[in-house]
Point group: C2
Chain length 225, copies 2
């Protein structure tokens, strides 16, 4: 097993070097880059759709979609009213995105007019947390129907993120999970998290999330100067 | 990368050998063994609670719980009215269970009176599909709020399973996903799947699932003879 561990270390170190290069390139272009991590079906794409639509005319997005098998998410992004450059990465069953995949995607992605690049990772609350993609910020999305104990059970996603979006809060009346408990559990794991409670269906809570994106972009542009 | 791929092959081959040994041991004891795979929060533990309670007095279960960080699930199983032997495997962040973990768990697990051993895998719809744990049957659980496109997006879980449980169908009136579409998508990926539509909260559809377990156990005992 020793051999496999050292090989894995080599791979993740090579990944980190490449990610640092990507980050430098993104910063030169004045881009804010988010890496969104979540379970399958937590609502990453729905959050992205809402965000792009509501910031239309104010901020411009370029999107990288990661998926094990299909291009469903990229097609959803392409189908919203706002034209947004999007590249789909198909991992062919792979459980996470890696920096080398982002490098390839970036070669194809139109970013000349973008303010924010969002990378939607493969639906997986565990493996993506260990792979730096050159992002500025990791965002974890967790939906309330998954259960309010998820931050305790999958802590690394919440430890490595700067923001947590609790999605599908409109379903709270019909389920046992509580938004307040999920928030508390997220902050127990990482007290520095910015936590947002949203419903991508009703739009509740989305404004605070959009304000946070504006703030992060302003911060990035101040420190880049 | 070549080196890492050959190392991984060695590890999975060693895993398969060990899994075959485990399977032989389970069969000698006349046990049916299920490996349950699902996203975080799909309702694996809730399904298990319902199943154990409703088959109380008829079938006896022994449970192996896999989790990246906590023993919440094992505590839930220990807290139901029916006393059930349960061993918790904490993967310390790891994204799937492996046969060597099951071997250790089995050394501690009380199975003398059991009819069925259920292994609840780590919440992850991708990585666990590649690791044989010595089970007879893989079961995939997918909850309706995750979206009815999940079988298409995470096909390997549905390809390798013999049964798919669509959970949380009581939420259908409040969401956009449709049970019939999720069923169709599951059967598109794997036409041989036994598909169950259930709510662990209302109990709807659980009877068909229990009948299926009875059938699998009868089949196993016939072929073991």
């Amino acid at each position: 097993m020793k051999q496999s561990i050292s090989v894995l270390k080599d791979i993740t170190e090579a990944n980190s070097l490449l990610a640092d290069n990507l980050r430098a390139g993104f910063s030169q272009r004045n881009l804010l880059v988010l890496n969104i991590i979540a379970s399958p079906g937590a609502g990453k794409t729905s959050l992205l759709e809402r965000t792009i639509e509501m910031l239309d005319g104010e901020l411009r997005f370029s999107i990288i979609e990661g998926d094990p098998a299909t291009s469903i998410d990229a097609e959803r992004i392409a189908a919203i009213g706002v034209p947004v450059p999007v590249v789909q990465i198909n991992t062919q069953g792979g459980c996470h995105l890696e920096a080398r995949m982002i490098q390839k995607a970036v070669e194809q992605l139109e970013m000349a007019d973008a303010d924010v690049v969002v990378i939607e990772n493969v639906g997986n609350l565990i493996c993506p947390t260990g792979w730096d993609l050159g992002e500025d910020i990791k965002v974890v999305v967790a939906s309330l129907p998954e259960g309010d104990d998820k931050p305790l059970k999958y802590p690394m996603a919440f430890v490595t993120a700067q923001a947590a979006v609790i999605n599908k809060i409109d379903l709270e009346p019909y389920i046992r999970a509580k938004t307040t408990v999920m928030r508390e559990n997220a902050l127990t794991i990482n007290p520095d998290l910015a936590v947002f409670e949203v419903s991508c269906i009703t739009g509740q809570g989305i404004d605070e999330w959009l304000d946070w994106i504006r703030e992060q972009l302003a911060k990035k542009r101040t420190t880049s100067k």
